[in-house]
Amino acid sequence: MTGRAVAPATATGLAVVVIALLLLPQVATDFFVQFVMTRVLMLGVVAATIVFLAKLGGMISLGQLLSFGIAGFMYGNASLSEGARGLNLGWNPYASIAFALAVATVVALLLGALASRTEGIYFLMLTLVYGVIGYFVFSQIVTISGPGGVTRIGAPSLFASPLRLYHAGVVLSALTYLGFKLLGRTNFGLALQGVRDDPVRMASLGFNVPLHRTLAFGLGGFVAGLAGLLNVWWNGQIDPASVNIGPTLDVLIIAVVGGISYFEGAWLGALVFVAANTYLRALPLVDRIGITEDRFNTLIGALVLLIMVLNPEGLTGLVDRARRVRRPRPAEPAAAAVASQPSVQSALPAQPARTAGTGDSSPANETKGTVL
């Protein structure tokens, strides 16, 4: 393990992207920066938590938008003093931030603990149920929200202007990206990948498998909560419909479109999603073939279907593959040594579905280190 924590190329690339993003407001329109890109960055962070749980922990979570929403609702409840709905606690904005993040994290830890003994498809379904129940909690319990949501939520003075929010989004995205990348190399990150690849073996080695999963889910909830705060400041309000099953699936779609085993893919997917959502209606001729903005979901569904059928590694996977073809056999000793990137090779192998239950840990497990 003498390799650097982050490959120099990655660090340079990240620095270039961050600088470009910070300079973007100089060249692009306000609409593009404040409406399109801020959303891309926020959704990218949420999608990145999905990628984190999937890539390092082998858990496909549909509960991330719930944490995003919880943070928003809790901030609104805590910071407002005379809103139309909610608890109206009237706290200092920074106390409200701490409160919102604490609630989002604690709820994620509890839900994670409950789901920590399931894996694979069960985990996916259980977290989907979390998301939908969360929607009903906020839409039915009128003391904290009710169907109309919490409105007229102001941002703390530090984040009051749209441009500040954009910058906060850039910083949060960079930290999230870097943090998750670095986490993969820590003891916790390595153990988490061990849990992903072979929970039985890790348990025999004395690792607490459910605890690792729970902590990872809690961390995912915390980061998603950070994005949720930005979202509620950006939006000025939050309603239960924004955490309903549709948006919940949208976030997973973003992660899948971008490539669920690539952190970069989270933001790429978000860019594609938001750009399609924003600009599709402006394209000429699109409505002639029956695809108007109203049919946006059909288009996005078809896109996901196409990606899942053709290349489950998503757009980033396509780029990665193209790069490999052009530059065969790239030297990647560090990655191979740490074995932290097996998922790059194949995101969706045929799992040894039923035979795995017989208890023999087949050698296939060595290469099984994958997300899906």
Partner: protein, 361 residues
């Protein structure tokens, strides 16, 4: 789709030791029973100030709540059994199950409107039993055909890649939802029960709709047929064998691909039947697909994926919780009813991570 033998094997041999402790956790089980006893005491004696009132004082309300729970459980079972049937054999989580429910509901409504000859203000007296059964079967058959096409085109060649299949069906559900919104609009539509079953009876002074009993009857017939099919026919035997060891079944020269297609047909048919029944029971609208996917998921997570017994148990428990929590929570707190669903889920998962009758994949 569990048989006794499979249960034994499931709890002894195949459970992963780390993820699913096969030893029952005594304190958790004890806590569960104590909790249930407290709930029973609350419902029987203490629940003053709730919409229903203590069962001792208001036996009629209690009985009606039980009937509500059981009859709704019937509908839950029809839908969830299709979901669990598909999962049990193929390990495919059909995220489009709710979409098939909604599709069949809409189509059945259209067919019923065509058969009755009017599109609005259809009264129960206009609808004969045939005007209900034919739309039900036609809607379910169309849902089943859509299901089979999806299975043949998108799921047949990636068998065993559970999460890829889940995402593919998810994408299909997004497309179907959008296209149904285009075709049928966003307003709630209702199918009409046949006049023969639309009456009210008196139970301890409470009026009760007989159509709910009819719905339960249909569900019981479906359950019985499903059980006969799985337990008493050669095809059912093959399916049960396929659940336990697909490779072995294949090696014995059985055309498992055909069995897969038939199972998917039946599973989607059940979703469709549920859709037509649900459209008669409470109407259907955009969003019902997600809701019924949730219902199916909750039922099978409680009961255990792939287990028919589990679907029965899960439907009953979930149906009871849905019926009882708004009736027996204090009146000013009835909106917390949704939390009770979650508590049920959490309790079951704390004791059995793979559901009551489930086993680790």
């Amino acid at each position: 789709m569990s048989t006794e033998g499979e249960q034994e094997a499931g709890s002894i041999g195949t459970a992963a030791p780390a993820a699913a402790p096969s030893v029952r956790r005594k304190p958790a089980v004890l806590a569960l029973w104590v909790g249930l006893a407290l709930v029973a005491v609350w419902i029987l004696f203490l629940s003053r100030g709730t919409p229903a009132g203590p069962a001792i004082a208001q036996p009629g309300k209690f009985l009606v709540t039980v009937l509500d729970g059981v009859t709704f459980a019937g509908l839950l079972f029809v839908v969830a059994s299709g979901f669990t049937l598909i999962f049990g054999l193929m390990r495919t989580v059909n995220m489009a199950h709710g979409s098939l429910f909604l599709l069949a509901g809409f189509i059945a409504i259209r067919i019923q409107q065509a058969m009755v000859g009017k599109t609005r203000n259809i009264g129960a007296e206009d609808v004969t039993i045939l005007d209900w059964v034919v739309p039900l079967l036609a809607g379910a058959a169309i849902a089943a055909l859509v299901g089979v096409v999806v299975q043949q085109v998108f799921l047949r060649w990636n068998q065993g890649q559970e999460l890829r299949q889940a995402l593919i069906t998810l994408a299909i559900s997004v497309i179907l939802a959008d296209q149904m919104l285009r075709e049928f609009g966003g307003l709630a539509l209702t199918m009409v029960w046949p006049g023969e079953v639309t009456h009210f009876i008196e139970i301890f002074g409470q009026r009760y709709a007989t159509s709910r009993f009819f719905m339960l009857g249909v569900a019981l017939v479906v359950g019985l047929l499903l059980w006969l099919w799985l337990a008493r026919t050669r095809m059912g035997m093959v399916i049960r064998a396929g659940v336990d060891d697909e490779e072995m079944v294949r090696a014995l020269g059985i055309n498992i691909s055909l069995v897969f297609a038939i199972t998917f047909f039946v599973g989607a048919f059940l979703a469709g039947m549920g859709g037509a029944m649900g459209a008669s029971f409470a109407g259907v609208a955009t969003g019902a697909d997600g809701q019924w996917l949730l219902h199916s998921l909750v039922v099978v997570i409680i009961g255990g994926m792939g287990s028919l017994k589990g679907a029965v148990a899960g439907s009953l428990m979930y149906g009871m919780v849905i019926a009882f929590s708004p009736a027996y929570l204090p009146s000013q707190y009835t909106f917390y009813a949704v939390i009770i669903t979650f508590v049920l889920l959490a309790l079951v998962l704390a004791v059995r991570p793979y559901g009551l009758f489930g086993r680790a994949a």
